[in-house]
Amino acid sequence: MTTDPHVQACADALADADPWVRRGAAVSLAEIGGRLHHDPGHGLQDTGCLFVVEQLAARVLVEADPTALHAVLKSLTAIGCSHAVAVLLPYLRSDSAAMRTAVVDALSQIVATELVVEDLLADHDADVRVRAVTLLGQMPTRRGVGWLATLVSADADPRVVGSAVGELLARDDLPTARKTQLCSQASQRFPRDPYLQFLFHTASTDLEASR
């Protein structure tokens, strides 16, 4: 609960029958939550911000209208606190590809996501590790070469290794020789994987061409 009647009214409007009202409520809550989160007088543990994030998170579970759902996810992204990240993370395991895509997109725009990416890359579920690689690739900071290289050298699932190699190859800030070395490592670990063999072959060709 909140003692602020305006915040409560917005939270109530998230359940309105009209999806455009729900969309508007999500936008209003983003402004409120963002203000509470970014105001120096309030920290990440601020109960007002937490209330707003919880209201939006609860709506993600039940929102059937794509436009309203998009607005809710965008609002959580705009608030951008670590609690918003925490409520979005479970949706990475959704059976809905649209939801997974939307959540990866939202998480990639929140700075606080950096704090959880390493754990996601070590998740017990290989599908989640693949999604974490995608997430890392979409984050604007372009960090994580070390994490991806670790996946290439140690992850037991060739799909994860293939995703990591694909992401490393897309990096502009990595020398071609290093890319080729990582491709070589992956292809040696999984000699029967045609995709990894292909990547090593093309990386070697690209390296030769660059000399």
Binding site: A97, R100, V104, D105, V130, V165, A170, P194, F198
Partner: protein
Amino acid sequence: MSQIPRPRRALVVDDSFAVRRYHAAVLGQAGLAADLAEDGAAGLEQALARSYDAFLIDVNMPRMDGYTLVRQLREHGITAPILMVSTESGRDRELALAAGADAYLLKPLSYEALVGCLGSTASEPGGQSTE
């Protein structure tokens, strides 16, 4: 000996440059030329602008996911074989088939799997309309 009709041009839709390049190479081995699109929205645009004999579509993509793309292609009357190719484990297979795909394959795609699937789905090469 009768020959199995084979598609001639395919559209590869995947957000990974490396995967698009790889799938184009595998299609090339099978004698198919490939056009490439980097997400579902771009794939739909290309599919409606040009006739294709087959589609290779990823599941998780920005802007429009693979299932939505497959549904939209079918809604537009496109009947060409659609193979969904994904890193996602088998639990997505039913969703792919329900969306209108002909087959669901786990990455990495092999030449043998591609030819096997197209051989069983491409009974009407070029069977596509963009009405």
